[in-house]
């Protein structure tokens, strides 16, 4: 029982990060109909910026803010400098370009920082607090919950309540009509990329210290897990991404805790395949058919 409680909280903590990362994927998918396969690499790049800033200033929090800023900027740059020039008639093209960016970003990071793991610090203790004799949740887990929760509230508020959020939604749903109504559609797209990339950067900041550390490939498996989360929830549904993230986090935590951590990659693959073959549109999609 104690182990189950511990694994549940651990899974929710992981899941919160997957949820954030999946949300970033969903944001770009809704805005541009692109699954951003470069998101993991972009997020790692932002995390390296944080590493440098923290190393220079000694402050975790300055690094944290730097990661957010770098993420926002990188997202806008990728959209404005690369993605807008890609021919979208074949859905393969943006995917291939994103993969090119993965190679490029990871290589540049490797050239600057080297290909060894670097320890990534945390602002709070990762040892679990005991509540009534149970080791339940660490201060760092609480920090993760708070950050992800705050981020989601902020995103929901931006999209649902602010004029710029309305513009972004309109530009995504009906670009031509939106232009006629004075919306700068290209700008909204860049903003969407920036927001998504910023969210991805924060997710990387939260997850990397809990894994092996900072490395150009550090987010590869996290990307696959988050993609699975987004598919579980349905690529079109932000709430679905959140639920999907938590589900994937819990499943991986239980598999890792009860069957061995070596099996988690396989568990991700099996989960992804199972969801896609049973409910291709995701658990929250009203339409299940992807086939023509």
């Amino acid at each position: 029982m104690e182990r189950f409680v511990f694994l549940t909280f651990d899974g929710l903590s992981r899941g919160a990060v997957y949820a954030a990362f999946a949300l970033a994927l969903v944001l770009i998918w809704r805005a541009a109909r692109i699954v951003n396969f470069a998101q993991g690499a972009m997020a790692v790049a932002a995390a390296y910026v944080a590493y440098s800033v923290t190393a220079a200033t000694g402050s975790y929090w300055l690094g944290f803010l730097a990661a957010l800023a770098a993420g926002l900027l990188l997202g806008a740059v990728v959209d404005r400098a690369v993605m807008r020039f890609v021919d979208h008639t074949s859905p393969l093209n943006p995917v291939i370009v994103a993969l090119g960016l993965v190679l490029l970003i990871q290589a540049v990071l490797g050239m600057i920082y080297g290909n060894e793991f670097r320890p990534a610090g945390t602002p709070f203790d990762r040892a679990a607090l005991t509540v009534g004799g149970f080791a339940v949740v660490s201060p760092y887990d609480l920090f993760v919950f708070a950050t992800v929760g705050l981020m989601m509230v902020a995103l929901a508020w931006i999209f649902a309540r602010t004029p710029v959020g309305l513009r972004m939604r309109a530009a995504a749903f009906a670009p031509e009509v939106s232009r006629l109504l004075g919306v700068n559609v290209g700008g909204m797209l860049a903003l969407g990329w920036a927001l998504a990339s910023g969210v991805g950067a924060l997710a990387a900041m939260l997850v990397i210290p809990t894994e092996l550390g900072l490395h150009p490939n550090a987010m590869d498996l996290v990307f696959v897990s988050a993609f699975t989360a987004a598919v579980v929830g349905g690529l079109d549904s932000p709430p679905g991404a959140v639920v999907g993230g938590l589900v994937v986090g819990l499943v991986l935590s239980y598999v890792s805790g009860y069957a061995g951590s070596d099996l988690t990659p396989l568990a991700v693959l099996v989960l992804l395949l199972a969801v896609l073959l049973v409910r291709p549109g995701g658990l929250f999609a009203p339409v299940t058919a992807r086939r023509v």
Partner: protein, 247 residues
């Protein structure tokens, strides 16, 4: 929103000279000339494929003209991006109405006024639209795709009006609507022309109702303007009606 250009040709709000536009290599519009006086309603009529919608798309910048000039209140619109036209007083209600189905009625209307600096007046304009179109006021929080055809037309028109345009481009507002609703919309256009000095360029298949509301009629065929005259004269011209308009 003053007449900055100043030298608008004899009170013309919209002037088109030698407009050539199309998709790909072959032009759809050949040397189209057009003049719409401020505060009037002009109806562009003609058979299917005459180039009416293409004309509107070229006017609102969604289609880049190959040659020719488009002046709004004497100002050349060449090179002005689509999203800037609404700031110059031009509103385009596209065919199929362009209501964004995933947004609510209220969000659609707010979108129409988002570009405006004068937030308070945008809010007032929205309230006016709700007064004008009772059904919309009752369905503020409904999604666009839940509306009926008539309600969508009201919403599209209302959304354009929230921007308080000088020139309203309307593409086939009667398409798929009951005659009673069409009559209401036409009456509303006249009322807006009289009360606010709105200028309307209306493209219609429904020639009879278009010419009944318009001050001026423009007949298009195969991408050319074949006749431009006061609307009642076109209504009475039997030969023209038989040749181009089919009634």
């Amino acid at each position: 929103m003053s007449e900055q250009g100043g030298r608008s040709d004899a009170g013309e709000l919209l002037t088109v000279r030698g407009l050539v536009a199309g998709y790909g290599a072959a032009p759809v519009l050949h040397e189209v000339d057009l003049a719409v006086p401020a505060g009037s309603i002009a109806a562009v009529v003609g058979a299917n494929g005459a180039g009416k919608s293409t004309l509107l798309r070229a006017l609102s910048g969604m289609l880049r003209p190959v040659a020719g000039q488009i002046l709004l209140a004497g100002e050349d619109l060449r090179g002005v991006p689509v999203e800037q036209l609404v700031r110059r007083g031009m509103a385009h209600v596209p065919e199929g109405r362009g209501v964004i189905g995933e947004l609510t009625v209220d969000e659609n209307l707010r979108l129409g006024g988002l570009w405006r600096r004068d937030r308070a007046d945008a809010g007032r304009a929205r309230d006016e639209v709700y007064q004008l179109f009772e059904p919309l006021a009752r369905r503020r929080q409904h999604l666009g795709h839940q509306l009926s055809g008539g309600e969508r037309q009201m919403l599209a028109l209302g959304r354009a009006l929230v921007g308080r345009p000088r020139l309203l481009l309307l593409d086939e507002p009667s398409l798929g609507l009951a005659p009673r609703v069409v009559a209401q919309i036409m009456a509303l256009l006249r009322q807006l022309r009289d009360s606010t000095g709105l200028t309307v360029l209306l493209v219609e298949q429904n020639v009879r109702s278009a010419l009944s509301v318009a001050d001026q009629g423009v007949v298009m065929a195969l991408g050319r303007v074949v006749r431009a005259a006061p609307a009642e004269r076109l209504r009475d011209d039997v030969d023209l009606r038989h040749a181009y308009l089919g009634f």
